[in-house]
């Protein structure tokens, strides 16, 4: 990765101009040619430095219910609780974190009533309270890395 790759990564995280030849416009900005820019992008996608290039669609508008949940799990019960929580297909991610609330998981499902049922089942099976923290507002999603 050289300085041109770095400036391409930095600039292209911000978004492509909407016109017929967007790479030509960006190449001017980055002081390179359209052809070189396209080749560099392709090489970075092929090598895995970039995971994708294209439109980032907003999932909420495409339907579905997501929530971040947390449980305070007593240390000596961590494994059985982990097994119960992970057994639900609706639990997409689950992380142990260094806090009193030490288990954090994401529920992804098709409807609100499904989420409520899963949370109730987890509480009943573990005997622990689940804090349900669905996002109420989103300010930004995405990551701008400076490389």
């Amino acid at each position: 990765m050289d300085s041109l790759d770095r400036s391409i990564i930095n600039r292209l995280q911000a978004g492509l101009p909407l016109c017929e030849r967007p790479f030509l416009e960006l190449a001017d900005e980055l002081d390179t040619s359209e052809q070189t820019l396209l080749e560099r992008l392709q090489a970075m996608l092929d090598s895995g430095l970039l995971t994708r290039f294209g439109p980032l669609f907003v999932a909420d508008h495409l339907g579905g219910v997501l929530s971040l949940c947390a449980i305070r799990v007593p240390e000596d019960r961590f494994e059985p609780v982990e097994r119960i929580v992970n057994s639900f297909d609706e639990v997409a991610h689950n992380y142990e974190r260094d806090h009193e609330l030490n288990m954090w998981f994401v529920i992804a499902c098709d409807a609100l009533h499904t989420k409520r049922r899963v949370l109730k089942d987890i509480e009943r099976q573990t005997g622990l309270e689940v804090l349900d923290m669905p996002k109420s507002r989103e300010f930004f999603i995405g990551l701008h890395l400076e490389v």
Binding site: G15, F57, M133
Partner: protein
């Protein structure tokens, strides 16, 4: 006043537009072709003009259905292997402004307002902070704390110590 015939025509046009948008989502969710005119092959596939593809994206960007058309770096490959979930207790009346300010900082992703869960959990703003290591993440969190000053009553940062489960989400914007 609209006649029933005109209303029908309008409904049909709206349906056509919605149908076109969903075909456009399907055609591009895997990525855009890396060619000089990236919207032209999409237009050809969908049987429309290049201009229609561009103007539809422009509308979807304007109303927030598309965040941006951009490159997504693999942050692990770039050395950003550490992340911490920073959490903040900010005044509800100020959260809109503070959320946007924090969400737009470099090295921050996933900036959300979530309900407090008193007494266990006083924080209403979540922002994922990335860095090359935990110290870099902590430094970034402290710089955010400095930026917010007394607008943040308290904050914390939670590091993950183990991944317990990670499956492909059935929903998502990848």
């Amino acid at each position: 006043m609209n006649t029933p015939v005109r209303e029908l025509a309008q409904v049909r046009a709206e349906n056509d537009e919605a149908d076109f948008e969903s075909r456009l989502v399907r055609a591009t969710q895997g990525g855009l072709p890396l060619v000089a005119r990236p919207f032209a092959p999409i237009a050809e596939e969908l049987g429309c003009s290049e201009e229609r593809v561009i103007s539809t994206f422009r509308n979807m960007l304007a109303d927030g259905r598309v965040r941006r058309i951009a490159a997504v770096p693999n942050h692990y490959r770039l050395g950003y292997v550490a992340n911490g979930m920073s959490v903040w207790d900010v005044d509800d009346a100020l959260i809109e402004r503070i959320g946007k300010q924090v969400g737009n900082l470099a090295m921050v992703s996933h900036c959300y307002e979530r309900p407090r869960k008193l007494p266990h959990w006083p924080y209403n703003l979540f922002a994922m902070v990335h860095g090359r290591n935990r110290d870099e993440v902590r430094e970034k969190v402290e710089s955010i704390a400095t930026l917010l000053g007394d607008r943040a009553r308290s904050h914390d940062v939670l590091f993950s110590t183990r991944i317990l489960k990670k499956t492909g989400m059935r929903l998502g914007d990848k």
